[in-house]
Subunit: 106 residues, 2 copies
Amino acid sequence: MAVFNRKLIDEKAKVFKALGHPTRLLLVEKLAAGECCVCELVALAGVDFSTVSRHLSLLKEAGIIRDEKRGQKVFYRLELPCVIRFDSCVEAALQAQLEAKIARRQ
Amino acid sequence: MAVFNRKLIDEKAKVFKALGHPTRLLLVEKLAAGECCVCELVALAGVDFSTVSRHLSLLKEAGIIRDEKRGQKVFYRLELPCVIRFDSCVEAALQAQLEAKIARRQ
DNA sequence: GATGTATTTGGTTATATTGCCAAATAGTAA
DNA sequence: TTACTATTTGGCAATATAACCAAATACATC
């Protein structure tokens, strides 16, 4: 059964794990709107450029984004567009959970 | 802009992070097929029951599953069904990436 | 109340992750 | 070839995570 294939589970978990960091999720959300060079992403993320570079390479390694060098710059783009659909679903669910929590306290 | 709300990003990243461990992903996939008691999940996961319990509480804390005690047993169920749709998408994408890699080598 | 089963929690250790700085690499332009 | 910009990589310190065992808790039954 595919569900219980160990290697597949590991690979999938790697994707989730890569998305499981605020800075990396921010980068992915930004890339969902179109490709960016690392320099733009550094400006957005507010951490050291070496740190951004490491986050990007981790996302790439997980198969979520891919890179392309053009001139001096490296551009990254989203490779796994369904991330964004799930991201929206999670956002909606968190919102609903929050509202339910508030409602219960009234 | 909602996308750049720090607290929201942190909360969403917590969901991804919770899913980003092979054992936890396995537990979630199992729960997608219907609720289970902890004892069943322990048998499935092949790690110590205390470890499974910790994984479950982390998933619960992230809002992905919820628990209900009935008698001596605690039953967990999936609270965020869209996880599974994304999980399938990731699986398909990994499969496609793997095939592309193989094709390139021929 | 004593015993047994199911689950969680405390505590510890080993390992992994993150972030920064400094240095290396790659491309462009003077 | 020197200088400059963009990015990656090496190395390190601080922090977080995961696993196990042991002990605590909760409920059911005798």
